[in-house]
């Protein structure tokens, strides 16, 4: 390929990125250092107050921590639930395979709000889940599954599971069957061959699926808002409230920039990780 033709192929995507991502984020930088006076609005001048408050006030630190823990937990949950499904779908020769794949993707075809309201009906104090738990005698009173961490974890895991499964199917399909068979002929049990060969070779898929789900989780808005209620905040709902309820654009900008920085840092770290583990498969 001639040097230069690569840039031309990338140009449309780069242009879109510049207009839809770099420019808005760049515009937020000056806003985030403006003082904000309640009942007056944004004033002239410079202040680092929005950042220092974000990184010192325990209220904000708790929300940041909660967002990160939620992201990691949802990623872990989708990975644990998704890997066996993806492995099955990548390896099966069943004629139902295509239908099963559609079944995995099916939740994505329903409106997000509808799905989330479905979870509210299931997880509420006297919802189906609590009724079932009590009928089975597993709990004495209703368990709180809504407007807390458990609710968000369940809802977000459900919504992002298809993304994880689809990425993993591709990665597992790329592993030649012969390589697994070779490990077995050489004396590895099924579990040994899986741990030493299949799993390491699917690492690139695990990594990209995890980045995808993590980023989607920490930036999700609708599900945390509906399942977390007005008081159980994560960063995205906090930013939403800052901009649209309190009209404190400078604070909202600072929070947005922090979230963006967290995502970029994560992508950078995982990129390094991928190179070190030799994501060659």
């Amino acid at each position: 390929m001639r040097s230069g033709s690569g840039w031309r192929l990338l140009a449309p995507a780069l242009l879109l990125l510049a207009v839809a991502f770099v420019a808005p984020v760049g515009l937020m930088v000056p806003t985030s250092v403006r003082p904000y006076v309640p009942l007056v609005g944004i004033t002239g001048g410079f202040t680092a107050r929005h950042y220092t408050r974000l990184l010192t006030d325990s209220y904000y630190l708790e929300i940041i921590g909660r967002t990160l823990v939620l992201g990691l937990t949802v990623t872990g949950a989708t990975l644990l639930l998704g890997y066996p499904v993806a492995f099955f779908l990548a390896r099966t020769r069943s004629r139902w395979r295509n239908w099963l794949t559609i079944l995995v993707v099916f939740p994505l075809m329903l409106n997000l709000v509808v799905r989330t309201f479905g979870w509210i009906a299931l997880l509420a104090q006297n919802g189906l889940v609590n009724q079932a738990l009590q009928a089975m005698g597993l709990v004495d009173g209703p368990v709180k599954l809504l407007f807390n961490f458990a609710g968000l974890l369940i809802g977000l895991t459900h919504i992002f599971l298809p993304f994880m499964v689809l990425v993993l199917i591709g990665a597992i399909q790329n592993i030649p069957r012969d390589v697994e068979d070779a490990a077995r002929v050489l004396g590895a049990s099924w579990g040994g061959a899986f741990l030493r060969v299949t799993l390491p070779l699917s690492a690139p898929g695990i990594l990209s699926g995890s980045i995808l789900v993590f980023v989607l989780t920490i930036s999700a808005l609708v599900t945390p808002r509906l399942l977390g209620g007005p008081t159980y905040q994560v960063m995205s709902t906090l930013i939403y409230d800052e901009f649209l309820q309190r009209l404190n654009w400078p604070a909202g900008s600072a929070q947005s920039l922090l979230l963006t920085a967290m995502v970029l840092a994560l992508i950078y770290v995982s990129g390094r990780l991928a190179r070190r583990t030799g994501a060659s498969a």
Partner: protein, 371 residues
């Protein structure tokens, strides 16, 4: 097959994938240290047979006995066999050293012994200094050697090879053939080698098992299957040959005379039992068994016909001709490359010895007792 117990014995092995019977009632033995080639076109079941021996495919019926031990239901990883894949199937996330060490580690071979054994094996396949490389940094031939070393290092009872040379280019393939044969002679290991390349099978093996549509067509030494094919399929699959349809006119102690269809020509073959007058046969003559003779004087000898050259091509070690007999019948002929070529349109004579005529019963057999 001498008196020694076979290293590998396969009895009446069967495997069907849905309605397709991949391996149909196949039996064969391999003596210790023997090199056996499974030869056949793609889809003939030879790879399935090999994978059943390896334990990767479960047979529907029959048994596999390894050095006296029935392993038909033994799990793959407990069989202690070596298998070399067509794709090499190296572990891309491990170095060459780790690839070769994999089988030893699974057998609990520890550090004091592990290193030297791997190094010795890498030395044997001439990869000594490349242990720290990753498979993707090696050429096809080198990857092939890693696959071989990885399969041999555990000292398997039998080494199975599934078309191991067909991903190499022609020059390298010839080189690896020689290397493989030498390695086998040096280690004295029993090898079962799957290939669709008849030349490879003939060059490498002590015995050839020719398969077609899941069944064994013939088992024999390379000269045997080449010179005395049991069926038309074997005759066609091993080397190029001319098939002449006809009927046995005379069958006596001096020879068999076959009247070719069209009644103008007779082909004389050496005597053999089982073919009576009236039997429909194919007289099969290998292209290199046919001589081109300019002299008219030999016309009274058997199997000598006037002919015209209609096509000539030079292929280095041989001249390839298509010649036409007086009745319009065309024969393929190969003569040594050192001979002076005949031009297209040249008049000549073709001749072959009765020894070189392979007779195969054809059509409705009256006494279908082949060889």
């Amino acid at each position: 097959m001498s008196g020694a117990a076979p290293a590998l014995r396969v009895r009446r092995l069967r495997k069907a994938f849905g309605p397709v019977v991949a391996v149909d009632d196949v039996s064969l033995d391999a003596a210790p240290g023997e090199f056996v080639a499974l030869l056949g076109p793609s889809g003939c079941g030879k790879s399935t047979l090999l994978r059943m021996v390896a334990g990767l495919v479960e047979p529907d019926g029959g048994e596999i006995v390894l050095a006296g031990e029935d392993i038909t239901r033994v799990a793959v990883h407990r069989r202690n066999l070596g298998l070399v894949f067509q794709s090499y199937a190296l572990f891309p996330h491990m170095t060459v050293f780790e690839n070769v060490a994999f089988g030893l580690r699974r057998r609990g071979v520890g550090p004091p012994e592990l290193g030297p054994r791997v190094e010795r094996m890498l030395e044997l396949v001439r990869l000594g200094p490349l242990g720290a490389r990753y498979p993707r940094e090696l050429s096809g031939g080198q990857q092939q050697r890693v696959a071989l070393a990885r399969a041999l290092v555990t000292e398997p009872r039998v080494l199975l090879l599934d078309e191991p040379l067909s991903n190499l280019d022609a020059l390298l393939r010839d080189e690896m053939r020689v290397e493989l044969k030498r390695l086998q002679e040096r280690l004295g290991i029993t090898m079962i080698f799957v290939t669709h390349d008849q030349a490879e099978a003939l060059v490498l093996s002590d015995r050839v098992v020719v398969m077609e549509a899941g069944r064994v067509e013939q088992i024999g030494r390379p000269e045997e299957v080449y010179r005395r094919p049991a069926t038309a399929f074997v005759a066609r699959f091993l080397g190029r040959a001319n098939f002449l349809a006809g009927t046995v006119a005379e069958s006596g102690p001096t020879g068999i005379v076959v009247a070719l269809d069209g009644d103008r020509f007779q082909v004389v073959a050496v005597p053999r039992s089982g073919l009576g007058a009236g039997q429909r046969v194919h007289a099969v003559i290998r292209q290199e068994a046919i001589r081109l003779e300019a002299a008219e004087g030999a016309a009274q000898r058997p199997n000598n016909f006037a002919a015209t050259v209609v096509f000539h091509a030079f292929a280095g070690q041989a001249h390839h001709y298509v010649i036409q007999l007086a009745d319009g019948r065309e024969l393929e002929v190969a003569t040594p490359g050192a001979a002076a070529p005949l031009a297209r349109g040249a008049h000549t004579h073709v001749a072959w010895s009765p020894d070189d005529v392979i007779l195969l019963p054809a059509g409705p057999a009256t006494s279908g007792d082949a060889w």
